[in-house]
């Protein structure tokens, strides 16, 4: 019992029935990739939430740093012309 190494952490992404894309729903521990899928199924889709699951080891994700928030994201804050709000979008164009 001395060896209590933790299983690696995985991030879980689920595509809901009505969703177009996979959405991050949380994280879990699993011994390997295949078991991570099964754990994700058991932990995150038990209320009929999903039709597809992605898992990825948390260690394999490269994230932006909060320190970089301003240089990365502030410059787009005043570029109103980048939003397609100056056009009339026909009603039959979905997912805009």
């Amino acid at each position: 019992m001395s060896d209590r190494r933790e299983w690696p952490l995985y991030e879980v992404f689920v595509r809901g029935k009505r969703g177009l894309n996979h959405v991050h729903v949380g994280s879990l521990h699993a011994p390997d990739d295949d078991m991570a899928i099964r754990h994700a199924r058991d932990v995150y889709t038990r209320r009929n939430e999903g039709v597809s699951i992605w898992v990825v080891r948390s260690a394999d994700i490269t994230a932006s740093s909060p320190d970089e928030k301003d240089p990365l994201f502030a410059p787009s804050g005043d570029k109103v012309y980048r939003h397609p709000t100056f056009y009339d979008i026909p009603d039959n164009v979905p997912h805009m």
């Binding site: 009505r18 969703g19 177009l20 959405v23 949380g26 521990h29 058991d42 009929n48």
Partner: protein, 317 residues
């Protein structure tokens, strides 16, 4: 587990908005990101017993399959909060709940086929027939296999028991989905998907424990040796099973023995585990779990499972 917390003040909203707002289908329940559509497995199914089928025999057969699921569900439920990891805790609880769902449908079918199998409760009791069967019968009236009732051991024990049980039941239910009883066929069709997952889950853990550490392998082979003598019963034919199989409403377990053997042989081979040689545990004067003959562990388990329901026969739950 950690959940990302969306910032409600974020001007651009959060990733869930896409699910909540933009994918509406007119006039449905799309405010719920994941839908609310739950399926009734018996929707549209004709519930009358086919004319030429012996109703009491059908009811007894449903009790056998239902009691297997009920008793093993209770045993696996005992793992709640005791599994090695939170993730396994939830996985086992899901399996227990799947089996409980199967038990409920099967016990309800037994009661509908032959109401005389249902214990008598006080006049005006609101307890439904399937609950009366689950909570107001004694051990001697249960028809489950003994492999479902023996007490839990370690995690390897629940892995081996789930693998053996799910492998047989999946083969049975795959055939039972063609039953001449439309209700049994619908219950089996639903169960096949659940049992496929149970077998897959347990099979993966069987391999993992076999190929893990010396200690995990020792525990796995010990659990297999302990449960193997109880594995003759699930593959032998009880007269009731022979009767319903001949009538085209049930499945003779002996008919799936070869298929079960092939599956288990694959799991053993890939795991590098020898097939146990122990002889099957005999019945007592030919009687086994299917006849209501059980180990004493079942009475103790039922006492705990039934005590609250029995204290309140007029209770509404």
């Amino acid at each position: 587990m950690s959940h990302s917390t969306p910032d409600p003040n974020a001007a651009a909203g959060n990733v869930y908005d896409g699910l909540l707002e933009h994918h509406d289908v007119a006039g449905d329940d799309s405010q719920w990101a994941f839908g609310t559509d739950f399926e009734d497995p018996l929707a549209g199914v004709d519930t009358t017993v086919p004319d030429d089928v012996d109703a009491h025999e059908l009811a007894t057969y449903c009790l056998m399959l239902g009691d297997d699921a009920l008793v093993l569900s209770q045993r696996i439920s005992e793992w709640c909060s005791n599994a090695p990891d939170l993730e396994e805790d939830i996985a086992l609880a899901n399996i227990a709940l799947d089996l409980l769902g199967q038990a409920r449908l099967l016990l309800a079918r037994a009661a509908a086929a032959d109401p005389s199998v249902v214990p008598t409760l006080p006049e005006g009791s609101p307890v439904p027939a399937e609950d009366a069967l689950a909570f107001f019968r004694d051990a001697g009236q249960f028809r489950n296999l003994r492999i479902t009732e023996v007490p839990n051991g370690d995690f390897a024990h629940v892995v081996v028991r789930t693998l053996l049980f799910a492998t047989v039941r999946l083969s049975l239910f795959t055939r039972l989905a063609e039953s001449r009883d439309p209700v049994l066929a619908a219950i089996a069709a639903k169960g096949v998907k659940e049992l496929t997952y149970h077998r897959d889950y347990a099979g993966r853990w069987f391999l993992t424990l076999a190929q893990g550490t010396d200690e995990s392998r020792r525990r796995l082979t010990a659990a297999l040796a302990e449960l193997w003598p109880l594995f003759g019963e699930p593959l032998s034919t009880h007269p009731v099973e022979a009767g319903v199989a001949a009538a085209g409403v049930g499945v003779d377990p002996a008919a799936v023995a070869d298929e079960v053997d092939v599956v288990l042989e694959q799991v053993f081979a890939v795991s590098g585990v020898d097939r146990p040689g122990a002889a099957p545990l005999a019945g007592v004067q030919g009687r086994t779990g299917r006849d209501g003959l059980h180990t004493e562990a079942l009475s103790r388990m039922l006492a705990e499972m039934q005590v609250v329901a029995r204290a309140h026969p007029m209770g509404k739950w």
